[in-house]
């Protein structure tokens, strides 16, 4: 623990340069913009910015991208409360009570509750990372290929068991992700797989293009279909009401605590912020004394999902850094970024890239404080921006998405791909296919396959290696149990009534 604190102090010395603080501010502002605009969310905000960071120093790049993520998480709540339009899938639950509050003229109060409780949630998530990541990483250093494969399997299996979507549709999403991830050159044998002799497919399909299609264009089409009309509540902020709300916050300590616990858990296991915020809202409604007021402008209904949303968003960085397994779609994109910058995600980062790891963790503290302050300060500005008609903003977002898809690899073919995945994303969203597992499977499916094939090389093709020692045996058994969970649950007649219709992990 003490060595972690020391490392964190070192991290602050890396993160607290003028250049990095400027990057944080820029990242947070871009993030709020991305979060506020419907159709641009955290996963594809990070994706769009990624190609521009290829030439940057990895520490600076990750600070910029994570700050954008925090900004997007905050910005998503602004539109949820003021316009009843969730800027992010993970802030859908915030609309339930946030918008009614704004309609009652309590917008300032709702926004303050949302941002401050989100800030607290984020802080708890970061403290958990600070305290645990070192220990998890040094534990993971003992992992060989079989252990890694078991952990990957566990990540996929927990999506199926707890992802919140219909298990069958989660399996389709995962399998599609694996399939798209396999296209191109096989890393073990060097042969071409699933390229159908099309030259454009030899380098495979980039997950970045897929994210831009699924989360960017697909989301836009959904917004368009509903005929977006920004009928906003009054966005003027009243400083007195703000202070009043902050003073009232301690009364909701239980909701905050519950939100943090749900969020940290869902972030570390790959449930992601969306599932976390819904779950936290549901729990609060069932357990709170004010439960009957939920849906009609109850502050606790804003605090519960917001706390969970942000603690899940930050906690998702823990498995990404220490194991190389992303806990949400956005961290999956960042993980891909790490590999592009030439870093090898996983426990070795903590030894070889101390500056990077602790600089990033330290920047998360400051980034979230900056996010909270800027989110509150810029509410009027971004609210005013939404008064510009969607008939102008929509096409501009499309251009940004397509340009982003092109910059990934400089390939005109990727524009067609982005378009195709946009249409697929629209239909998948309509039919409640979860999208996050697809991205996760694309990013780490390759690594999972490599780990599996290396394990088989070690054991001469025997699956027994997955139960060769207590550690890997436990992991494999839990993974199998999770895989069979939906079947078992159905058999027991305890079919989970999934309150979560939206996809987990934004």
């Amino acid at each position: 623990m003490l060595s972690n604190l020391e490392a964190l102090m070192h991290g602050f010395s890396v993160a607290l340069t003028g250049y990095h603080v400027l990057l944080m501010i820029a990242g947070v502002l871009l993030g709020i913009l991305v979060g506020v605009l419907p159709g641009l969310g955290a996963p594809n905000g990070v994706t769009l910015l990624l190609p521009l960071t290829f030439s940057m120093d990895p520490v600076s790049a990750i600070i910029l991208l994570t700050s954008l993520y925090w900004g997007a998480l905050f910005g998503g709540s602004t539109t949820s409360i003021l316009f009843n339009i969730p800027g992010e899938p993970s802030s859908v639950a915030t609309t339930f009570d946030g918008y009614p509050m704004a309609r009652q003229g309590r917008a300032t109060e709702a926004l303050t509750f949302a941002f401050v409780s989100a800030g607290i949630g984020a802080l708890v998530g970061i403290v958990v990372i600070t305290l645990l990541s070192g220990a998890v990483a040094s534990f993971a250093l003992r992992f060989g290929p079989p252990e890694y494969f078991a952990v990957y399997l566990l990540a996929f299996a927990s999506f199926i068991a707890f992802g919140g979507g219909a298990p069958l549709k989660t399996i389709v999403s995962l399998a599609l992700g694996f399939g798209f991830g396999m296209m191109g050159m096989d890393t073990v044998s060097g042969s071409m797989r699933l390229t159908f002799d099309i030259p454009e497919l030899i380098r495979g399909i980039s997950f970045l293009v897929v994210v831009i299609g699924l989360f960017g264009l697909g989301e836009l089409l959904l917004t368009i279909e509903e005929g977006p009309e920004f009928k906003g509540a009054n966005a003027r902020l009243d400083p007195a009401a703000m202070l009043h709300a902050i003073a009232a916050l301690p009364r909701y300590w239980l909701a905050i605590l519950r939100g943090c616990a749900v969020g940290v858990w869902m972030g570390i296991t790959p449930g992601g912020p969306t599932a976390a915020s819904f779950m936290s809202y549901g729990l609060a409604r069932r357990m709170s004394r004010n439960g009957t007021g939920f849906g009609g402008g109850e502050p606790e209904g804003v605090i519960a999902p917001e706390t969970a949303d942000h603690s899940a968003g930050t906690a998702a960085m823990l498995p990404m850094l220490s194991l190389g397994i992303p806990g949400s779609a956005t961290s999956a994109v960042m993980l891909g970024g790490l590999m592009i910058w030439g870093l090898n995600p996983g426990p070795m980062l903590f030894i070889e890239q101390r500056d990077f790891v602790w600089g990033m963790i330290a920047s998360m503290y400051l980034g979230n404080v900056i996010g909270m302050v800027l989110a509150l300060a810029t509410v009027p500005l971004f609210a005013a921006m939404l008064s510009v008609s969607f008939s102008i903003i929509g096409p501009v977002i499309v251009t940004v998405c397509l340009v982003g898809a092109y910059t990934v690899a400089g390939a005109p073919f990727d524009l067609w791909l982005a378009l195709g995945f946009g249409a697929a994303g629209y239909v998948m969203k309509k039919l409640d296919y979860p999208l996050a597992p697809l991205v996760l499977a694309m990013v780490i499916g390759d690594k999972a396959e490599d780990a599996f094939r290396q394990s088989m090389l070690m054991s001469n093709g025997s699956l027994g290696v997955l139960w060769a020692n207590p550690l890997v045996g436990t992991l494999s058994t839990i993974a199998l149990f999770f895989l069979l969970w939906p079947v078992a649950a159905a058999a027991l007649g305890r079919r989970r009534t999934a309150a979560v219709a939206a996809e987990p992990g934004a």
Partner: protein, 160 residues
């Protein structure tokens, strides 16, 4: 206009097709298990099988619940038209970009989408189109040094 039952079936069909393509693609590879474990085609083959199986199950589930699902509209006429009106110009932009480059395609798309789809004034459309295109040029070519797709017009102007 479209009910959930039909859309479920249609998309399950698409997934089935993707799975079949996967089978086709892995047919030329060694899908077996040798002494050093799974070969190159092992996973593509099995993932395709899983896709086909899962798609079939989705379809069966949808069929069993067809009564309820058929009563749920997923896209109404108006919404569907809005999506088409918004989506077709995007398709056009991608097609034009392959031929004339991204900058020209972007400017044309923005003008069409804002003026004719969005119903704004011509001047507004033109201003946004030129503004965004110019800003993209400065940001990508000058600041970040990331060249975007260029066509004959840029070559003519000596910018390509």
């Amino acid at each position: 206009m479209l009910d959930r039952f039909r859309l479920e079936l249609a998309f399950a069909g698409v997934i089935l097709l993707v799975g079949a393509l996967g089978l086709l693609g892995s047919a030329g590879l060694d899908t077996g298990w040798a002494s050093d474990g799974p070969q190159a085609g092992f996973f593509p083959f099995r993932v395709s099988i899983i896709l086909i199986g899962a798609a079939a199950l989705v379809a069966v589930n949808a069929w069993r619940a067809r009564g309820t699902l058929a009563a749920i509209p997923v896209i109404d006429r108006e919404g569907g038209l809005r999506v088409l009106r918004f989506g077709l110009p995007v398709l056009g932009m991608v097609a034009v970009a392959q031929w004339l480059g991204l900058y020209v395609a972007m400017a044309l798309y923005l003008l069409v989408a804002i003026r004719w789809v969005g119903g704004r004034r011509f001047a507004t459309g033109l201003a946004v189109a030129l503004g965004v295109t110019f800003a993209s040029f400065v940001v990508f070519e000058k600041w970040f040094g990331v060249p975007l797709l260029k066509g004959p017009l840029e070559t003519l102007l000596g910018l390509g």
